[in-house]
Symmetry: C2
Subunit: 253 residues, 2 copies
Amino acid sequence: MLFDAMRPSSKPGSATTARSTRRRAAPKGPPPPRRGKPSAGKDESRARVRLDVDERRAQLVELGLAEFGTRTYEEVSIDLIAQAAGISKGLLYHYFPTKRAYYVACVREAAARLLARMDVPPEVPPLERLQVGLDRYLEYVRGHGGAFATLMRSGAFADRELAAVVDETRATLLGRLTSGMADIFPAPGMLSSPLLPIALQGWVGLAEATSIAWVEACVASEKAPASAPAPRAADVRDLLAQALIALVHNALR
Amino acid sequence: MLFDAMRPSSKPGSATTARSTRRRAAPKGPPPPRRGKPSAGKDESRARVRLDVDERRAQLVELGLAEFGTRTYEEVSIDLIAQAAGISKGLLYHYFPTKRAYYVACVREAAARLLARMDVPPEVPPLERLQVGLDRYLEYVRGHGGAFATLMRSGAFADRELAAVVDETRATLLGRLTSGMADIFPAPGMLSSPLLPIALQGWVGLAEATSIAWVEACVASEKAPASAPAPRAADVRDLLAQALIALVHNALR
DNA sequence: GCGCCTATTGAACTCGAGTCAATGGGGCGG
DNA sequence: CCGCCCCATTGACTCGAGTTCAATAGGCGC
């Protein structure tokens, strides 16, 4: 509702309110001539631009990243996207079967970028890998601020596919951070306690909540330098790394 | 879409497809006679039942708790709610200005119940209070299964008010669990490190993710007893309690 | 028993998601 | 170089869920 003001502003001249009752035109009926001036008038009239499929898709996903990062899922309307992209609403449905599918594609892209940034070369030893990975993670969250929170949480449980994408991202992320760690643990029960996977999933929740709180603190201390100073990224990273070690340690008896 | 089948099934007789173009009837126009048999026919015709405001509100919130706990926010339609409650759609708007407001009211109620259950008497010493509180928490999450996850996460960032309710609930919950704990810590910097609040907020995320993963494990092991057995609630509780202690310890240098 | 207050109703309205037949830009075979 | 076909693109349309509102009726006070 707050964003209604920035909607396409419904051209006052055209018949927006006139609602005709007739059904869809007959399939073979004579083509009705296009209404008024086809390309005259406003500067916003854009010639039909034909793009390659991948190009167009990439453009739309990029736009979606920006829009969904700023507003909520429901606040972003298809019309808004189409207008911002300079295309018709129908074309969006040529690339994505549904609004949710479009959203899922955007989340997928965001997740892929996050994971790409966290790709630490395999020769790095486990503990350092964890630290470097966490640094990259915090860097990303810091840089993308609210977009991260919105993308990963807003409507995360709205459908199965979305939940699957988020879960998979979390699992991959965890794998990146902990690969090779099995060696450095005392391994009494060969890392097979029923508590372990639960503790690990829990730790991901810790990482997300902590990083979001940290970014909020950063923003707050920028706005009001008098308030509590935001902790340094390295401290947050150490907190998370130590918590992971402790959590695994406790989960294995 | 999966739930379309259980919608009010649009009485086939009435003119659902006829779409009139005329505007709303004139304010003082002669009252058109009510359409066909006012109370005859089907057994489902229910006399107008007049309830007290608080009663009706409570009934609707109770129903909302059940519906929103089962399906997603968008999957729950106002028509569905109205039909299930045996009232007209319009009446819902007499009690809640909007669907979101209705949802917020339901989340508020769920949060209140959770917090009520976690109310441990003040004479209980801090550490035991933490343990008992966590037990109650896990009990609640276990008992309300998906409802908890859905209510606390689905569309949690959809609007400011919802986020505020969730944040406030988390803060209160944390307060319940940690009240009196300031005494038992070495308190070098008087508990005032900029990391502390962030670590605490993070821990709440840990608690939520861990408990959700635990419930999932419980459900999975019920369905397939051959798979990994779910850990006991006490173990999860200890894991969370120890994590909280360790997190606070680390945050204070 | 009358009248008012208000819970309750249902139909109309809004507006955004999703559909579809028609269009036309441009690459390619002739 | 021309015309033909493919497919990206369009815009009007349908459909359905949320929201509004004037009218109705239950029951309590007087």
